[in-house]
Amino acid sequence: MNLIIRIGDIEPCSTVEGPGKRFTIWVQGCSIRCKGCWNKELWSFNGGIDFDVEELIKKILEYKNNIDGITLVGGEPLDQVEAILYLIKRVKEKNLSVMLYTGYTLEQINKDPLKWKAFKEADIVVYGPFIEEKKDLFLRWRGSSNQLIQVNNPRYEFINNTSDRINEVEIHMDENGEIKITGYPDKKFVEEVLKCLK
């Protein structure tokens, strides 16, 4: 039987969800539910749509020549750890890198062999819950200062050696005038963007 993954959204080529250009997958469903979370619509396990993991891989490979890898964000990717682990392995076989976001702490990950395996298999992992009081928009690829980055692939070692304070946002506009904001915008800026749509 094929593995199924529940997905909230996909952005085939993002430059703000990790190094380089990345096929970004927002998984649907989160059991951690951090206070002040930016993506509350991805909490419910009933939202989004089910994807056959093999179909998702096919979709990713359509963009293979234009991306450096994939980013798994949420929701909580490790709440669907079996599908995520399989997806990581298959994507890496195709010479694409994997960046994984999780709200679980290292201790929690350590207690679960599958989560631990996913943690070790991904090239880059951003881990730890989002803590609203520690929110900092200028931590590249992180939302709050307690979150840490684990680099498992020497190719991305530069991440540990950079102290850049950088805030990145991407606004995607399609031909129907629909807008999607990704990255790390502050609430006020999002409100201002929304005003521009009126």
């Binding site: 080529c13 805030n167 991407e170 506009m173 005038g177 915008p185």
Partner: protein, 174 residues
């Protein structure tokens, strides 16, 4: 004097209406008895009787003039039958003409409907193009407004075109 009854198969005579018409047109009187047509003559008669697909004529051979009458009836029948066929042909041709006319009318109606639909499609396409143009303008205006706000918030703005998608990449550093 011997009496000889003579029977003749009238292969061409098939339609009783036309037979009766032929007899009448020759000024002869006839009566019908079942499927038989009887033309009385002196103390005898000339009888036509229907078989499966044709008529059989019977008469007393002692009256050779009856044979002559039969020949006249057959000839008259042939004439009437020919007229009958011509009439049928005319009717069929009239029906054909009517059918063709109906087809032409139907065709014209369809062509008119097609022309109306094509006109509607052209108008809708025109409206669609105008709406697309308006939407593109609106997208451009929105993009400019977003970029302006982003600059005011300290972002460096970069435009990226990807297929049908437009992406505004915003970066700011501390």
């Amino acid at each position: 004097m011997s009496t000889l009854t003579r029977t003749k198969i009238c292969k061409n005579i098939r339609k009783v209406d036309l037979l009766k018409k032929a007899i009448s047109e020759l000024g002869l009187i006839f009566k019908e008895k079942g499927s038989r047509i009887i033309i009385p003559y002196k103390q005898t008669s000339l009888i036509f009787e229907k078989q499966t697909n044709y008529y059989v004529a019977t008469f007393n051979n002692d009256f050779p003039e009856l044979n002559q009458k039969l020949l006249e009836i057959e000839q008259k029948y042939d004439e009437i039958y020919k007229l009958y066929l011509d009439e049928l042909k005319r009717k069929r041709e009239a029906l054909e003409r009517e059918k063709i006319l109906k087809n032409i009318i139907e065709q014209r109606k369809l062509e008119e409907e097609k022309a109306i639909l094509e006109k509607e499609i052209r108008e809708l396409e025109k409206i669609k193009k105008l709406e697309e143009k308006k939407l593109m303008q609106k997208i451009e205006e929105t993009r400019n407004a977003i970029e302006e706000r982003a600059k005011q918030s300290g972002f460096t703005v970069k435009r990226i075109e990807r297929g049908n998608k437009q992406i505004i990449k915003l970066v700011r550093r501390l």
